[in-house]
């Protein structure tokens, strides 16, 4: 009997969320637990003169207060080797500020009390005295000589420079009929999942094992990081993933609090719980995206792209966190996009400022690069009097040209059909009709515009994932994987793969991604990699298990039937599954893959208020193969919704003193249902030869082209002169009004 699940829109079981029984970390309680409250810096840059904890310590219910003096001098390490340089270790963050604070929100002390209300009361009484210092709060000025240094001992605010070069750039520019150059800026914004971060740590007094609930995304790495920082073996640390209320890149990286809460549980011998509050979240959890680009593009008069030069300053915030130089590296890898450049040169700089450190947020680097490149392509189309669609048609890499490599850079496109995807997006949107509608509405005095963007997206980053499939006495199977679930439904998708490959009904498969003690290694849920890496590892583990059965039964693997706790041959001969051991698989992926996507937006501006309304929004992505089209569509639509927020509403603002101005959900404006259209999702399936399942990433891609498409649509609505002045995001009402004013 065969079971066919791959490609089917299986509904996931979401009953725990519908009856309230889902258990997030705040819902986990341990006997005798204490509550931690982090005391954070109220200033952006200062020498710490004194931290007086006496009054806080004397408050009712307070158990302890720790400062940097109480913890070893450790740093949070970088997770990915590709994001490390020989210098990055100089900029890593200590769990508690030592001598100097470098951003508003930096942890200075932790108060532990018997009750969260009392902990907050006492935390207010920790007396902080500072000697305030100058603040660097802009990426471009931070990189200039003579400016204040965030880490003076290093002599620079530059964390890293990422150079990429392809072809003969000078020569290509010399041949150009037209060269356009501008500055473009992407603003600081971030993921803001509805659940804040939270942790609960407890040491088992019998075994000495430290358990940390509240893990997400990269729990095996967090275990490794804590092992190094706490000086205890990995086998004595267990990270447990509960239900996770959204991640989008920011949740689950190792943060200062992961160390602090674990440290306190070890020191006090009692469970310690910490639930981040929303104001803390806005200053403590990774920010993303802020960067400024100086971009120059060269083309021929008939619209052939020749070359580009990009120099960029990418904000890292005050420290390099666990994602290392990704804020500078990822924009560089995505700047060429899906076009046949003859040459390019990129030089991105990771720059320090006195603000919350920066990490990755859904579609990292690629969203920023796509905005920069696609905005400039629209400018170019306008200068050349070309339909922006035609400009892209003339330059997209043809399917026959794949695999395409921009050697010596690491950018290689292995599979897909970019022009076909782009045409499909335009067809689905009814591009010709849409232009007529736009023109008719304009004739009636409305301010409407169409914009689009095409892009490539990195995904399926390695190095590998493992999977174990364990037969259970009841005839079912538990599949252990090292990736995580952040609410996207990956457990359903992985169960589909495992069940189909085992040849069993889905009900027989349980996906376990909750506990580091169940699998030796794992790299986690990021870079749209979970389905590709864990899915292929599971397929291999299923083959392994079936192969063991086949060997025992002396039949081809395809003839084995797994059912009722037995592996059975066509002859009727059988062996108990319990005698087979576990199925094990490991899928290695030495190189990431790029996939193609595109977005199209129709917007209207209210000229009286500057408000942009997105009337229609379409996103297309080539996912290789959709394991569960329904869940995938929801991922793409949700990511696009975030992209709309990023394009027109959300911004993490700071004042000149480095004080954050967006620390409430009332000031950081995420879109509600009133601001969003019904997003149209188009799934392209062009399987990649790079893995047996043929899948590419998909969870982030709805984001990537969205801000660029909206910005181009707004520029289209504004008309030639005002549109050309659109150089920065977000397109909040005040900014759009400003563009509507005569220059």
């Amino acid at each position: 009997m065969t079971y066919s699940y791959i490609g089917a829109s299986v509904e996931r079981d979401d009953s725990p969320f519908l009856d309230g029984s889902a258990c997030y970390v705040a819902d986990v309680d341990r006997e005798g637990q204490l509550y931690a409250r982090v005391v954070r810096s109220p200033v952006a840059h200062a020498r710490i003169v004194s931290v007086d904890v006496a009054e806080a310590l004397a408050q009712p219910g307070v158990i302890t207060v720790i400062t940097a003096a109480d913890v070893p001098d450790v740093r949070i390490p970088i997770r990915l080797p590709m994001a490390e340089t020989p210098d990055t270790h100089k900029f890593l963050q200590p769990p508690l500020a030592r001598e100097v604070v470098r951003y508003v929100g930096e942890p200075i002390a932790v108060v532990v009390a018997g009750d969260p209300y009392l902990a907050e009361d006492a935390a207010e009484l920790v007396d902080l005295e500072f000697d305030e210092l100058d603040v660097v709060n802009d990426v471009v000025s931070a990189a200039c000589a003579g400016t204040t240094l965030v880490h003076p001992e290093t002599g620079t605010n530059l964390v890293a420079t990422v150079p990429l070069a392809f072809g003969e750039v000078e020569e290509a520019f010399a041949r150009a009929d037209i060269v356009l150059r501008d500055r473009l800026r992407v603003h600081r914004h971030t993921a803001v999942p509805m659940e804040t971060r939270g942790l609960l740590a407890e040491v088992d007094q019998g075994t000495g094992v430290l358990t940390l609930w509240g893990a997400a995304k990269v729990k095996h790495f967090t275990r490794q990081a804590l092992s190094g920082m706490l000086g205890i073996g990995r086998d004595r640390i267990r990270l447990v993933e509960n239900h996770v209320g959204g991640g989008f890149g920011v949740r689950g990286e190792p943060y200062p609090e992961d160390y602090l809460i674990a440290f306190l549980a070890l020191r006090l011998g009692r469970p310690v719980k910490w639930i981040e509050d929303r104001v803390e979240h806005f200053v403590a959890t990774n920010h993303a995206r802020e960067q400024e680009h100086d971009f120059e593009v060269a083309a021929t008069a008939d619209g052939r792209l020749l070359a580009f030069r990009d120099r960029a300053w990418c904000d890292q915030g005050a420290y390099v966190r666990s994602q290392g130089i990704l804020p500078a590296l990822l924009p560089a890898l995505h700047m060429p996009g899906p076009y046949r450049w003859q040459a390019f040169s990129v030089e991105t700089h990771g720059v320090l400022t006195h603000r919350t450190p920066v990490g990755t947020y859904r579609g990292p680097g690629m969203t920023e690069a796509t905005f920069v490149r696609e905005r400039m392509l629209d400018r170019l189309a306008h200068e050349l009097r070309l339909d922006p669609a035609d400009l892209r048609r003339r330059n997209l890499i043809e399917s026959g040209q794949l695999p395409w490599s921009f050697k010596p850079t690491p950018i290689t496109y292995e599979s897909g059909d970019f022009p076909a995807g782009f045409e499909r997006l335009l067809d689905q949107a009814g591009y010709a009709d849409l232009r007529e509608q736009r023109d008719a509405r304009r004739a009636r005095g409305e301010c409407v515009g169409i914009g689009f963007a095409a892009y490539t997206e990195i995904g399926g980053i390695g190095p590998f994932e493992e999977a174990r499939i364990v037969p259970r006495p009841d005839g079912g199977f538990v599949a252990h994987v090292g990736v995580g679930s952040l609410g996207q439904g990956v457990e359903t998708v992985l169960a589909q793969i495992a069940a189909e490959k085992l040849g069993v009904p889905m009900e027989a498969v349980t996906i376990d991604h909750h506990d580091t003690s169940e699998l030796a290694d794992g790299f986690g849920a990021f870079a749209s990699r979970a389905t590709t890496l864990a899915g292929n590892a599971l397929a291999l583990a299923a083959e392994d298990l079936r192969g063991r059965a086949a060997a025992k039964l002396g039949v081809p693997s395809a003839d084995v039937r797994l059912s009722g706790g037995q592996a059975t041959a066509p002859s009727g001969a059988s062996v108990p599954l319990a005698d087979l051991g576990e199925g094990w698989g490991r899928f290695d992926k030495p190189h990431p893959s790029f996939s193609f996507g595109a977005a199209l937006s129709l917007i209207a501006i209210d000229p009286g208020t500057g408000q942009v309304r997105v009337l229609r929004h379409l996103v297309l992505h080539d996912v290789g193969r959709a394991i569960n089209p329904k869940l995938l569509r929801r991922q793409l639509a949700g990511a696009a919704a975030q992209g709309i927020g990023a394009a027109v509403l959300e911004e993490l603002l700071y004042d000149e003193y480095g004080q954050p101005l967006s620390t409430l959900l009332a000031d950081y404006r995420m879109p509600t249902v009133e601001e969003l259209p019904d997003i149209e999702v188009i799934i392209e399936e062009r399987p990649t030869p790079a893995n047996p399942l043929g899948v590419k990433g998909g969870g982030e891609s709805g984001m990537v082209g969205t801000p660029a498409a909206i910005a181009n649509a707004v520029a289209d609505a504004l008309g030639a002169a005002a549109g050309a002045r659109l150089w920065r995001l977000p397109l909040t009402p005040d900014r759009v009004r400003e563009l509507l004013r005569p220059a």
Partner: protein, 182 residues
Amino acid sequence: MTYADHRADHHSGPQTRDSWLEPDDRAQFDLVVNDQPVHVRAPARCTLADALRQQGLIGTRLGCEQGSCGACTVLLDGQPIRSCLTLAVQAEGCTLETVEQAPPSRELHALRRAFHQHGALQCGFCTSGFLMLAVGLLRDEPDATPERVREVLSANLCRCTGGVPILRAVLAAQQELTGGDR
């Protein structure tokens, strides 16, 4: 001529507290939650959300604790409120409904099914609040127009779906509850 609309005046119970409950004291009082009597012991400053969660009713989630996200929405005397913006002691003697309600009201039952069918949730953290918001709306305004439903749903934040699938689900539940008249 008096215009007051008593549907909006939901404060049942004559209970008063005419002497000071001091900051360090704990009030003892009763609530009715999901048709069950619940005895609460909490200081004056304890929010209704925290009091419910301390009773094990963890389905009431806290996403911001200052009234912006709506994840903690519950029904107080039949009306959706943000339980982080109400003191527990203010609810003394009141009737509360939370997402855990079992058996669910007919509105909650229809909404749960519609949320599942229409992909109205991913991470699920906002789901309880949206469900209770929609229960309150569909009970109070069964014939609310789609525009009205959309406006009311804009009260709560969903970061995973953006909210349009939630709107679709609530409209589907409404249709079921009103016998398909709309």
